[in-house]
Symmetry: C2
Subunit: 222 residues, 2 copies
DNA sequence: CCGGAAGTGGAGAGCTCTGTCAACTTAGAA
DNA sequence: TTCTAAGTTGACAGAGCTCTCCACTTCCGG
């Protein structure tokens, strides 16, 4: 949980380090709740520092976000590793997808960050590690014959893209609703579908409309 | 194509009506290309009128968008009707989903409009007509045993939500890419999956990243 | 406990967006 | 042709955002 600072240069002064932690702490909460769209003003107020201080610590928004999501990125990697160690290739694949989505379901900012901040150095490095693991997860499932033979890593990669709006939409209405469309997608990938009962279904028209309404209110940048 | 004006009061003066059409024409192109985020300034410039004129014709952005999408909404209804007339319940369902998504794939603004502008009167009326038709499309498929028995109208409703970001992401890279994840979802809904070959697959890492990058750049409002 | 380097606060510049308004122009009825 | 209601223009107000700057404060090594 504690965010270490990569210290090439001299360490921060005591008060500066304390403020840095306060900013990250505030950002962690606000961004998880409201997504990447939170302004530096809001952040500064929540951290009880001035905007200038935020900018001194984090030259721009991206560097703040990167510092913020180091941990989460690491966790995605851990999930992928665990998935590969699962003796059942299908369960491994399902675990990876489900668990990494659970991470995003509870954190709007993380979801948006993973989705759009694809150009940063830290992300590139992380991806360089992650993609081969996904390749192996998919290849293993394919070789075991548990997914359709045409399924690729990119099919897996599309899943967060597809479920992002669903998660955003249902977060306030019924936070677990996304598990149902996920189940549908997973069944679509499966070689020999086993029709388990679909999860989380009770939804009326108003609920559905609420989901639609909330699905695309996310702010966006760049 | 020509947008009729609901004329409760006196008709517009000739020059005003001409400007109104110019604004709609410009908006149709810009919004299809760039989504709902286009500003009134851009619109005004493209229509070769002043911002004030745009605001005089359309008191706010929503009323402009509504005038803009009357036709498209109508077309969704036509697609639903045609789907119900298809003798094959599965083909009917597939046709509805595919064709309404095709409509959105070519028009970023329409996609965003359908997704988020759920509170307007015109939309409410339209929905009141549309939902019973979807109910029938789904019920028919369920009764014929071609979809899993738990499938609901809302499962169908989630599909545009899920494919929206995929369509946005792939529009510039490979405009038909969304058909592949759609196929996966449809297979997931199917009672007895028939594993046809998946469509449109050639994608490399760079292409995939580009899709991710573009997927969430859509502007949002409200 | 002193001096200077490091850090802070917050006003404000500069941008983009939505929407308004008063001075000007024009269509079209009489 | 004249007159006026209808329409147009574009500068501008106001809000929100990102980021800067510099006078002021605080830390901490000597």
């Amino acid at each position: 949980m504690v965010v270490e600072r990569t210290q090439i240069c001299r360490p921060l002064r005591k008060d500066a380090e304390r403020n840095r932690q306060r900013i990250l702490q505030a950002a962690r909460i606000l961004v998880a709740q409201h997504g990447l769209g939170v302004s530096h003003d809001q952040l500064a107020e929540a951290a009880d520092v001035a905007v200038g201080t935020v900018y001194r610590r984090f030259p721009d928004k991206d560097s703040l976000l990167e510092a913020l999501f180091v941990d989460e990125m690491d966790q995605v990697m851990r999930i992928a590793r665990a998935a590969l160690e699962n003796p059942d290739p299908w369960q491994g694949l399902v675990c990876f997808v489900t668990q990494s989505l659970e991470l995003q379901a509870g954190n709007r900012g993380l979801k948006e960050f993973l989705m759009h901040n694809v150009t940063s150095d830290a992300m590139s490095a992380c991806r360089a590690d992650l993609i081969p693991m996904l390749d192996r997860i998919v290849a293993r499932a394919r070789e075991a014959g548990v997914v359709r033979p045409e399924v690729t890593t990119y099919d897996l990669g599309m899943i967060p893209l597809m479920l992002g709006p669903v998660m955003d939409g249902c977060r306030a209405v019924q936070p677990d609703l996304w598990r149902r469309p996920l189940e549908i997608v997973l069944e679509g990938l499966r070689a020999c579908p086993e029709r388990d009962r679909l999860p989380a279904a009770e939804l009326d028209t108003d609920g559905f409309l609420e989901v639609m309404r909330c699905a695309h209110v996310s702010t966006s940048r760049r």
